[in-house]
Structure formats: structure tokens, C-alpha cells
Symmetry: C2
Subunit: 210 residues, 2 copies
DNA sequence: GTCTATACCCGGATAGAC
DNA sequence: GTCTATCCGGGTATAGAC
């Protein structure tokens, strides 16, 4: 495959066009493998095999397994953050969180991977450490803004420091998610909406659960 | 080393006396290694070397690395649960949780290991899965009882289903702990006590923080 | 029962040829 | 960019010494 009929195109349209596509393919394959077998269980060889490549070809694009993982996480996370922003601005934090939770119920394995990696990357020497540090800081600070807005607009009654509320919300979500991943019989939505009521002080949230 | 001066004691005081001690030594060594290098990073060979044993000697006592891990977790967890029970019965949930948190601030690596393993063991096929399933069920149900007692005695004002409150408390603790493990600059005690106030509805908690 | 030695297979990483 | 070949370290299974 990849016959080198044109050793070099006259218009040197960047030697990286193909590389970028390969990288995307590898990330997609890795996402599938990691989600199915976990990070530990999934091997680079399996990822390579899925694309009819050799192990070293994969390694060439991503110097290490960890680097590949970071790419996977970055790619997986970007999609959902945007809609959350819009939702919270539009209908308040409680609505945005609940919708985020419901949307995530269908990508259980992706959540598992994120949860696993967050714990693993908690040590400062882990390759994905900085990424998770930044991610949590970004999420909490974004949520802090949203909470403050809800307070100003009178949508919630809890007047505590917005940052403390935001951190507690993220913690509640992470924690209940973990319990749900371990035992899917638990009702994640019910747990989150109950916690939202208590943490935000908005008795009207129950109506959003339906 | 380990000269066998007395090949066999005259009084056959159980052939397992030595074994039990060895097992305890191995668990201690494994705890140290796992806590330092993580479960993935720590190897059985390193654990064995720390005790001047061969790899297969370790395997003899614990048939697999996972079995050893379960033993480590069981050992690490048992100590702290008892005092929590007594505290909550005596001075209420809020006090017990805060004391539990403060006591755990000093065993950061142990908490990291527990958090990591909980995420890893969330998949049903993991060797430690059942253990974590049971553990969370045990913790939540114990906390449910404590919350109900606080409600009955008028120590807290939140009248919601005790089980929902208990699950939220555990989630809050797990989640804030994770954020703290990733970024130790976060004030874990402040976060937990703020969350406790909102989840339990007891304005007097602040005084416990000091 | 307790331990050692050896070997096997799989994983990630690296070097060098095309 | 991609390959083949090789290295090293990991968990595991087996045979056998005391």
C-alpha cells in the first residue's frame, strides 16, 4: 500500500497532511480499544492491528502509550464542554448539570476511562498529570462563573462562595459517577438531582428530573 | 539468611504460624511499593526483593498480583472504619466525617491507591470488583444509619431520604479527595466542611473546623 | 508447606534498514 | 513513514529441592 508513484509532489503541500490523518485514525482506534479493554488492558499492538499497521508505526506518531492516551482524552473531552457552557448560561447550572449527566449515561466506558486516568494521573510524575490538573481547574472555574451568575439572577438560594459550591458540584458528580460505575443499579440521575437541590438550594430542580 | 536452626519445633504449633507472619510481611511490603509506585508501577519482583525473597515465594502466598492487592486494601481499610462508627454515634455525622478527613490527610499515598483501585476495579471482571462493590454498599448503608439517627435526634435539618444524603456524602468525599490528590494546594477540609453544611443542613459545623 | 530456578508469553521501548 | 528485529521487564505456570 501507499505506493510512492509521486515521490514528492511538485507543490510541497506540507509533508504532514497524511500524518495528521494517521494520527486521527490512531486516536480513534485507541479510543475504542481503551474504552473496551481499559487503559491497562488495551495494547498498542492491538490498536495497530485494528488499522493494519505495525506497532512501531503507531509509536512513530505517538512517542509513548501515555502520549497517545493524552490525545485520546483531549479528543473525547472537547465535545461535551461546549454544550454545557451554553446550557448553564441559558437555563442555569442545575439544568446544565442534569443534561450533562443524562447525556453521559450512554458513554459509560468513556467515563470509566476518564475516571481511571484521573486517579492514575494524580501523581505529579504521570504524563497526563498536568492535563488533568488544568482540566479540573478549567472545569471548576467555569462552573464557578456559572454559579455566581445563578446567584446574581436569583436562580439559587445558596449564597456561599461560588468556588466552594462549584468544587462540591464537581466532586458530587465524580463521586456519584464512581459509585454508579461500580454498581450500575444505582440511580445516578436521582442522586445527582438530590445533591443539586441541597448544594444549590433550589427546590424547583425536582421538576427537571422527570 | 533465615538459618533453619530448628527445622521443626517439637510442639507442632500449627504449620501456619510462619506463613501468617510471612503473609503479613508481604502485605506490608506490597503496601509500601504500591503506595510509592502505584499498582501498575509496582512489581512483585520489587516486593520480593525488599524482603530478600524470590518472586515465586511471594506468588506462593498470594496466587496472583490481584489477590495480593485485595489483601493490601483489606488491611489498609480496616483500621479507620471502627473509630468512624464510634464518632458518628457519639457526636454526629458531621464531626465523624471531619475527623475522618483530617486523619486521612497524612496518608495521602494510601488514599491515592484506594482511589486508583476503585476506578480500576469498577469493571465487573476486575479481581477486586466485588470487594469494592461490597465496600461502598457497606459504607453507604452504615452512613445511612448514622444520618437517620442524626435526623431523629434533631442534629441536622435536612429531612431527605437518609440513603440519598449518605451517598452524596460519600461522593463528596471521594470527589474532593480526588481533586486534592491531583492538586494538593486545594483545602480539603474547607471543601468538605462547606459541603457538609449544605448536604446536612447544619450551620453549626463551621465551629468544628477550627 | 515453603521456597528456588527456569522458562514462557506478552507488553512497551529502541535501533536501523527500506 | 513505515517496517523488521531486538531488548528488557512484567506476570504466570511448572518442576523440583528442602
Amino acid at each position: 500500500m501507499t505506493e510512492k508513484t509521486t515521490a514528492r509532489p511538485a507543490t510541497r503541500r506540507g509533508p504532514y497532511a497524511k500524518s495528521a490523518q494517521r494520527r486521527a485514525e490512531i486516536v480513534a482506534s485507541a479510543t475504542a480499544v481503551f474504552a473496551a479493554r481499559g487503559y491497562r488492558g488495551g495494547s498498542l499492538r492491538e490498536i495497530a492491528k485494528q488499522l493494519d499497521l505495525s506497532l512501531t508505526a503507531v509509536v512513530h506518531h505517538f512517542p509513548s502509550k501515555d502520549a497517545l492516551l493524552v490525545a485520546v482524552l483531549e479528543n473525547a473531552d472537547s465535545a461535551n464542554t461546549d454544550t454545557f457552557e451554553a446550557d448553564s448560561r441559558d437555563k442555569g447550572v442545575a439544568y446544565a448539570v442534569l443534561r450533562y449527566v443524562r447525556r453521559n449515561l450512554e458513554r459509560q466506558e468513556m467515563l470509566r476511562l476518564l475516571a481511571l486516568m484521573a486517579a492514575e494521573a494524580s501523581t505529579p510524575d504521570h504524563p497526563a498529570h498536568e492535563w488533568f490538573r488544568d482540566r479540573y481547574e478549567r472545569v471548576v472555574s467555569g462552573l464557578t462563573t456559572a454559579v455566581r451568575r445563578d446567584q446574581d439572577e436569583g436562580r439559587i438560594s445558596n449564597g456561599r462562595h461560588p468556588e466552594l459550591i462549584a468544587a462540591a458540584l464537581v466532586a458530587l458528580w465524580d463521586g456519584l459517577q464512581l459509585q454508579w460505575l461500580i454498581d450500575p443499579r444505582r440511580d445516578l440521575v436521582a442522586g445527582v438531582s438530590a445533591g443539586l437541590e441541597d448544594l444549590l438550594g433550589d427546590p424547583a430542580i425536582g421538576s427537571l428530573q422527570q
